[in-house]
């Protein structure tokens, strides 16, 4: 294993597909120095693996349970040195058209060894996909938010998030156990997860499921405002005057 050997990770939820790709990679190894540093059965597993095992190339299936290939590619961008991602798929469906439009490389399963070798030879010249490019793929909503902590990617399942609060440069993600810092835009998150979260303040999205109720709070100078009471966490969040209709809307829902 020389330093120049291309480090590859294979991700597919079907074991035979992983095995086949490994065989083909072995075939390519004669023409191009490479080493398969690991394989994973889901995007989530792949992220764990890649956090500890740096690699140059990730070959990932698109359709997978838990986390699909496109979401995996997004989270991988949080790594200190993101690998190049190439997608594999069995069928040319409408999603693939978008890949072609944005010149994102993909391989058709069954993969031909010659096609794989051509793709591998390109890798050293390729840069990782950009988030902007991935945004344009018709992906389903993410199942996780990812944050970087001590150069590892930590996944926060969307359904565990109680609220998202913008503070200066970062967004604080609050779960029942702890807080995480995320570098994204609150407006974009609201667009992506609008069904699950409701905006109670210019800087705050709250999970509808986590709302326990609302309380009228009067401050010392006689100013009154509403506050959201939450399940599992003690803090109450202020509802801004502009978003006060939320109290009536959701208050009615919970009483019904």
């Amino acid at each position: 294993m020389s330093d120049a050997a291309l480090k590859v990770v294979v991700v597919d939820d079907e074991a035979p597909a992983r095995r086949r790709l490994r065989e083909l990679l072995d075939d390519c190894a004669a023409a191009l120095p490479l080493v398969v540093v690991g394989e994973a059965a889901s995007g989530r597993e792949a992220l764990n693996l890649l956090s500890s095992t740096p690699s140059d190339l990730v070959l990932t299936d698109i359709h997978m349970p838990d986390m699909d290939g496109i979401e995996l590619a997004r989270h991988l961008l949080k790594l200190p040195v993101p690998p190049v991602v190439m997608f594999t798929t069995a069928y040319h469906e409408h999603a693939i058209a978008a890949f072609e439009v944005h010149a994102i490389d993909y391989l058709m399963k069954p993969v031909r060894v010659q096609r794989l070798l051509t793709a591998l030879q390109k890798v050293p010249r390729l840069r990782p996909l950009t988030g902007a490019k991935l945004d344009r793929l018709p992906a389903s909503a993410r199942r996780f938010l990812s944050v970087t902590e001590r150069s590892r990617v930590v996944l926060v399942p969307i359904e565990e998030i109680i609220y998202l609060k913008a503070e200066l440069k970062y967004i604080t993600i609050r779960t029942a156990d702890r807080e995480f810092l995320l570098e994204e835009s609150l407006t974009k998150l609201e667009e992506e997860f609008g069904a699950r979260f409701v905006r109670v303040h210019r800087n705050c999205l709250v999970a509808r499921e986590a709302i326990r109720g609302f309380e009228r709070r009067v401050t010392a100078d006689g100013d009154a405002h509403w506050e959201v009471l939450l399940r599992d966490v003690p803090e109450a969040l202020p509802v801004s005057r502009r978003q006060q209709f939320v109290v009536r809307e959701i208050g009615r829902d919970t009483s019904a």
């Binding site: 079907e14 597909a17 086949r20 349970p65 838990d66 399963k109």
Partner: protein, 345 residues
């Protein structure tokens, strides 16, 4: 016509006289025609009800008596050529009219001149209209017309399944050539059935065999994630069912129930005979996140249509979501011998 391959002449046939659907259609049609007849004769509100009662008093006994006769004679009638069968039914109609009139005359003692003639003409007219209706219906549901739909269903197998399966077989070629051979044989068998002429009923045993081969292929890909439970010990093996009545449902079960989850899931298949009916119940885990249900609806609609084509009202397909399982229940009449006109084709 000669350019169309695989075209079989449409054999006109009497409707299935013992089929609940046929019986209901006859009852509804006759009563509608009677209502129309009454409205044409009387249009004052008070007169309508008495005219209707008067007519119904004759029509309903005739209808019931004739339906009973047709039910009793169904096996013989359905064996006759279409023309002869139709003529026999018309003769039967006239005979019932004569018999009923004689009986009514005896009971009441009054014989209205012309009553028999009116009764007979009216009854024969309705019989002709109904025979024509069933002829048109059979024609519209005939194999030639539905062939396009059937073929659409046949080619409906997901390309995604085909390519993933081929990929899985390729992964076996080097290390486990024997398993690769079996898998290719299963694949060939599956496509042989998918591509053949599937317009006629086939034994349930064949369908179950096909489903097993299909699931073997899926198991090759999905490994431990796919678990299958067969409960078919009390299955009537010789029951005739529409080909591919179960396989597309299993394909949906795998696609919607097993693939979206990394945890193992169970597909349970339960086939049994109860009170002269074949029941097939399929269950698979239900995934809340399933976003692609259009394909599933299409398959269900297609199978429903084919069941109706073969069994009319005597078959049904119902689907429902229990807490975390999705269930499809098919009910079909138990038949082990093909209908006559199918047999000599």
């Amino acid at each position: 016509m000669s350019s169309i391959i695989n075209q079989k002449p449409i054999a006109a046939a009497l409707p299935e006289l013992r089929n609940l659907g046929t019986i209901l259609r006859i009852i509804i049609a006759v009563n509608l025609l009677v209502a129309v007849g009454v409205l044409l004769r009387e249009w004052r509100w008070t007169a309508i009800s008495s005219a209707w009662l008067e007519t119904v008093a004759v029509v309903e006994p005739h209808l019931l008596l004739q339906l009973l006769l047709l039910y009793a004679l169904a096996p013989q009638l359905e064996r006759l050529p279409y023309r002869t069968g139709s003529l026999v039914i018309l003769a039967l109609t006239a005979a019932v009219a004569i018999a009923l009139n004689a009986m009514l005359g005896m009971l009441s003692g009054i014989t209205q001149p012309g009553a028999l003639l009116r009764h007979m003409v009216f009854a024969l007219l309705i019989a002709v209209v109904l025979l024509f209706y069933f002829y048109l219906r059979a024609k519209s549901l005939s194999p030639a017309i539905t062939e396009a739909r059937l073929q659409a269903l046949q080619s409906r197998i997901r390309p995604h399944f085909l390519f993933n399966s081929i990929n899985a077989v390729l992964s076996l070629v080097r290390t486990e050539p024997r398993r690769a051979e079996t898998a290719l044989e299963d694949l060939a068998e599956l496509f042989r059935v998918l591509m053949r002429d599937n317009r006629q009923l086939a034994p349930l045993d064949d369908e179950v065999q096909l489903c097993r081969q299909y699931l073997n292929l899926e198991k090759l890909r999905l490994g431990e994630r796919l678990r299958v439970e067969w409960h078919v010990d009390n299955m009537p093996r010789d029951a005739l069912v529409p080909p591919l009545v179960l396989q597309p449902l299993l394909e949906n079960a795998v696609y919607h129930g097993i693939e979206p989850s990394s945890a193992p899931g169970v597909i349970a298949i339960n086939i049994f005979l109860r009170r002269g009916e074949v029941h097939a119940i399929l269950r698979n885990p239900y995934q809340m996140t399933g976003s692609h249900h259009a394909g599933n609806k299409m398959a269900l609609a297609n199978i429903r249509e084919r069941l109706a084509l073969h069994f009319d009202a005597e078959a049904s397909l119902e689907s429902r979501v229990n807490k975390d399982t999705y269930e499809v229940h098919i009910r079909m009449p138990y038949r082990s011998t093909p209908r006559s006109e199918v047999a000599h084709e």
